[in-house]
């Protein structure tokens, strides 16, 4: 009979026995397990759930705790129903709709709290545990860090503990915990195998709700005075880069983001650009290969090292020399890129682009325009104008600060003539205004500059605080040239990073402070760990799975082979578990074990112990059969009888007996 038929018949049989087992009432142990599971699940959601929803959930849990503590009855169903309706209305008010990730999680969390309140029977615990597991998954929608994984693991352990406590109400908490841990330990090999081999499908399977990727910090495609210095305080990681060879020196690490070409007097915005599969310049000269691991920013730009060149199929290029992703980067993504730092770009730029790059609003920044006119007077070439403007800015003793004063509409004028202190966007903006006013095509490039090498894993880490803005000037015959006006005031910003460039009065983010060396070391370690986590755990996507399987020698395109491999390994794991289940020590008593081994040895010599035979009688028989060892055999059997049935419990004696038993030679 086939296994399928067996199961079917068994199922029929199950139906036959109509009486269900009586549902056990929820006791305090079980209630506490469930409460612990729910608390561990709901607590981490507090970071993004609206405060009132989180508070309400915790209130429900506390209420449940009180009910357990006092042994009182759960609240009546009518009250719970009213609470549920009110909570649903509240969620509707808070989010404006029911569909989507955030209201869904909020509803689930409230539902869990209320389910717990009414939990009486086994079914309620099962529902509660399933709700907990869903909420743990929902945690990953927001955060997939190591800490979130640890939290979810702990929550899962507690959920399993609650299920064990339900199945085994007579057991102690220790036994429940032990069983749950053992189950997780046995589940881990399955986790590893399936994680690596289960076919990864590139989501989404259906349209994601609008709030799937909420706004994140980072660059934008506009720049106003103060927009980049706001990022200076954030030590959040923007992206990481791993170079094939040694990374370029800090002063050459310009990571190109949005290029801003239009100016309205205060705000720079991105100009239009064309897009193609290949770069808009001839990649020549030195080539650097690296892999960029970009944190999601929900935009298309890739922040590639200047100037981005040939790369994988997912990368596109813009006419202003940005590297772009085909789709907004909504998950942490890896891009293999190369850079040609010495290649000339834009030598044959179109007149329209150049014309746009000299445009200024007519009525803005009059003082800067006047200054530019005086600087440009009598200059032989654009290059000479550039020299003069730079010389002027160097002589002006502008101050570099993380906390620039607020500026009005004529931002370049105010910066150059009044406040004289600013962050990189002020320098770049004022420089570009001067250059444009003098008739030289100039544009702003925003992105990141510098970065820090993590000595633990060698990755270059670029944070939001490394956000930077610089300028590009177009010169006849040389194309676009990078000019960083910030370097005039604060050259150490370019060479050594933000911390070195700021004066003492600028309070640095804690992590950037130089005297926190041990803290930095700790942070390096932690970030290297989370980088490995990102690369190998979170970044394990269809592509990496294909690479990995190919490296193992499997054809990753063959789904049948993959399924076979997965089934085979799972069967092996089950077999191992089965062997573990079947294997059992007959007893944990060492004396008894030794006695059984002794009897087995004697049995091999044809002197097996009969089931009804007591140790003394057996000893007599053995002594008769082996007269040379009669004394020691008698002694062994007598000692065993004494240890087994006598009143004494002596560890030394039992060890001596074991030794004696082992020492016997059958002749």
């Amino acid at each position: 009979m086939s296994a399928g038929a067996t199961r079917f018949a068994a199922m029929l049989k199950r139906r036959g026995s109509a009486r269900p087992a009586p549902a056990p009432a929820l006791d305090r142990h079980q209630g506490l397990w469930l409460l612990a599971a729910a608390a561990l699940t709901v607590a981490p959601h507090g970071i993004w759930l609206p405060a009132w929803i989180h508070a309400l959930c915790l209130l429900f849990l506390a209420w449940r705790g009180l009910i357990l503590w006092q042994g009182s009855r759960p609240p009546p169903a009518v009250l719970l129903f009213a609470l549920a309706a009110a909570a649903a209305a509240g969620v509707r008010l808070e989010f404006g709709h029911f569909f989507g990730k955030d209201p869904g999680v909020a509803l689930l969390a409230l539902l869990l709290g209320m389910k717990l309140l009414e939990a009486r029977a086994a079914r309620d615990i099962h529902t509660g545990v399933l709700l907990c597991l869903f909420l743990q998954l929902a945690l990953f929608l927001e955060n997939q860090s190591i800490a979130a994984a640890a939290m979810a693991f702990l929550g899962t352990l507690t959920c399993l503990g609650a299920l064990v406590a339900l199945a085994d109400p007579a057991g102690s908490v220790r036994e429940h915990l032990r069983s749950a841990t053992l189950l997780l330990v046995h589940g881990l090999p399955f986790l590893l195998v399936f994680f690596v081999l289960f076919p990864r499908i590139q989501g989404p399977l259906w349209g994601l709700p609008a709030d799937a990727f909420s706004a994140r910090t980072g660059l934008s495609d506009t720049m106003t005075p103060g927009s980049i210095s706001a990022l200076g305080n954030s030590s959040a990681i923007a992206f990481r880069a791993a170079f094939d060879g040694p990374p370029p020196p800090p002063a050459q690490r310009y990571w190109r983001g949005p290029v801003l070409g239009s100016f309205d007097g205060r705000t720079w915005t991105a100009a239009r650009f064309a897009e193609a599969d290949a770069p808009f310049y001839r990649p020549v000269g030195r080539r650097l290969d690296y892999v960029l691991t970009l944190e999601p920013h929900n935009r298309r730009w890739l922040l590639a090292l200047d100037y981005p060149g040939a790369a994988g199929p997912l990368v596109r290029f813009a006419s202003d020399h940005q590297a772009l992703s085909a789709r907004p980067v909504q998950t942490r993504s890896r891009f293999a890129l190369s850079a040609y730092p010495d290649a000339p770009v834009g030598t044959d730029e179109s007149p329209a682009v150049l014309a746009a790059a000299t445009r200024l609003p007519a009525d803005s920044n009059p003082r800067s325009r006047e200054l530019a006119a005086s600087l440009a007077a009598g200059a032989a070439s654009d290059a000479e104008i550039l020299e003069r403007v730079l010389a002027h800015m160097r002589a002006a003793r502008l101050r570099y600060t993380l906390r620039p004063p607020l500026l009005g509409t004529d931002s370049a004028d105010e910066f150059l003539f009044d406040t004289r202190s600013g962050f990189c966007e002020h320098f770049a903006s004022a420089f570009a205004v001067l250059m444009r006013a003098a008739g030289v095509p100039t544009r702003i490039v925003t992105g990141y500059q510098g970065g820090e090498i993590n000595p633990v894993d060698g990755y270059l880490v670029i944070r939001q605080s490394d956000a930077h803005a610089w300028a590009e000037v177009w010169l006849e015959g040389r194309g676009w040239l990078r000019v960083d006006p910030t370097a005039l005031a604060a050259p150490e910003r370019i060479a050594d990073g933000l911390a070195a460039a700021l004066s003492a009065e600028d309070a640095l983010p804690l992590m950037l402070q130089a005297d926190m060396a041990w803290l930095r070391g700790l942070r390096h370690r932690w970030e290297a760990l989370s980088n490995s986590w990102n690369q190998y755990v979170l970044g394990y996507n269809p592509e990496r799975q294909r690479e990995f399987l190919a490296s193992l020698g499997f054809d990753p395109r063959s789904a049948a082979k993959l399924a076979g491999l997965l089934a085979g390994i799972s069967a092996l794991l089950l077999l191992a578990l089965y062997a573990w289940a079947s294997w059992q020590r007959r007893t944990s008593d060492p004396v008894q074990r030794a006695w059984e081994r002794f009897s087995a040895r004697m049995a091999r010599a044809g002197l097996g112990r009969e089931p009804w035979e007591g140790p003394l009688a057996y000893g007599d028989r053995l002594a008769e059969a082996l007269p040379e060892q009669a004394d020691s055999l008698h002694a062994i059997c007598a000692a065993y009888a004494r240890l087994r049935y006598g009143a004494v419990q002596a560890g030394d004696q039992s060890r001596a007996l074991e030794k004696q038993m082992k020492g016997i030679r059958i002749q």
Binding site: K13, R200, L205
Partner: protein, 332 residues
């Protein structure tokens, strides 16, 4: 409806015979080996699997690597729980113990001795037979007695019959079970008639026509040598305390002669079960009164005597009246 019920019963018997190799009672001890332990998911297990599927879809849709991890971990733990549930039953050995006779309508207390050879606890086991469920657990390396009280409705030999030992430990998602038929039965005596007429006065054929109005305990009539079957209430304790031999007090009612409780002497309008019921009541009364009594029923004649053994022999004869020795009827 009835046809469907019959069909279900037939299917079930077929399954018992072919699948679980269950039929005739098995010789003790019954060892639960791999071959006779079955596992299938419980409804909660199916719900869990459905929830995991939804979680997997969510993980795919949102590209949640850790979501995959969580689903696979839970799936792995649930898979491991199959083996844990199976292991919870593996290696147990069962022996039926003696079941004390009961009267119809009382609960028959079946006892099973279950040996757990493993030096670890076996939690949350259930024993199921006759629609009754008993929950128990076994300590490490011990033999425990499990009592399952089954209600009885009619006299005869009640077999424990098809029994199931099962467990949904550890997670309640998987049910492991084993079906067995222990060689255990319980004699169910006929229920005594609630208000029986008084004992027939004597062994004479006129029994049942006139009832004695005298209580058997009334008149002390003398002493005789004690027999082990005599009721302790009738021992002459005072004589014993004085250092004399153990004697039994005889009462005048007993002097009236031995009672003969005869089937044929009962009124003709009583049917078989009513007769058995009345004879049962009389046996109990006679035993209580300390009167010697004999029993004559078709195919069985038991000579007059007194005492527990005698009483049990008579009641057993009544219980098994009309059934053959090989009667293996499995349900009451």
């Amino acid at each position: 409806m009835r046809r469907a019920a019959h069909l279900a019963a037939a299917l079930r018997r077929g399954a018992d015979r072919w699948l679980f190799r269950v039929g005739k009672p098995e010789a003790a001890p019954i060892r639960l080996t791999q071959r006779r332990i079955y596992v299938l998911p419980t409804p909660a297990g199916l719900g869990f699997a459905a929830a995991l599927a939804v979680m997997l879809l969510t993980s795919i849709n949102y590209n949640l690597s850790l979501g995959y991890g969580l689903v696979f971990l839970l799936g792995g733990a649930a898979t491991a729980s199959i083996v844990h549930a199976f292991r919870n039953l593996l290696g147990l050995s069962l022996r039926p113990a003696r079941c004390e006779p009961v009267f119809a309508g009382e609960a028959a207390g079946f006892r099973l001795l279950i040996d757990n050879p493993r030096p670890s606890r076996r939690p949350a086991l259930r024993l199921r037979a006759h629609g009754q469920v008993g929950t128990f657990e076994l300590g490490p390396a011990t033999e425990s007695t499990i009592l399952l009280a089954c209600p009885t409705t009619r006299r005869g030999r009640l077999h424990l019959g098809r029994s199931v030992i099962e467990s949904t430990w550890p997670l309640g998602l998987i049910r492991a079970w084993s079906v067995f038929v222990p060689d255990a039965d319980c004699i169910v005596h006929p229920a005594p008639e609630p208000a029986p007429p008084p004992l027939p006065d004597s062994g004479a054929d006129g029994a049942g026509t006139s009832a004695s109005t005298r209580e058997g305990d009334d008149d002390f009539a003398g002493l005789r040598a004690h027999r082990s079957a005599d009721s302790p209430r009738h021992v002459a304790w005072k004589a014993l305390a004085r250092g004399g031999p153990m004697l039994t007090k005889q009462y005048s009612a007993a002097r009236g002669g031995e009672l003969l409780l005869a089937w044929s002497a009962l009124p003709v309008h009583l049917d078989d079960e009513q007769r058995l019921s009345r004879l049962t009541a009389w046996i109990l009364r006679a035993e209580q009164d300390g009167r010697r009594y004999g029993l004559h029923i078709p195919n069985t004649r038991i000579a007059p005597d007194l005492g527990h053994d005698h009483r049990d022999r008579c009641l057993r004869a009544l219980a098994l009246f009309g059934s053959t020795a090989e009667d293996t009827e499995r349900r009451p």
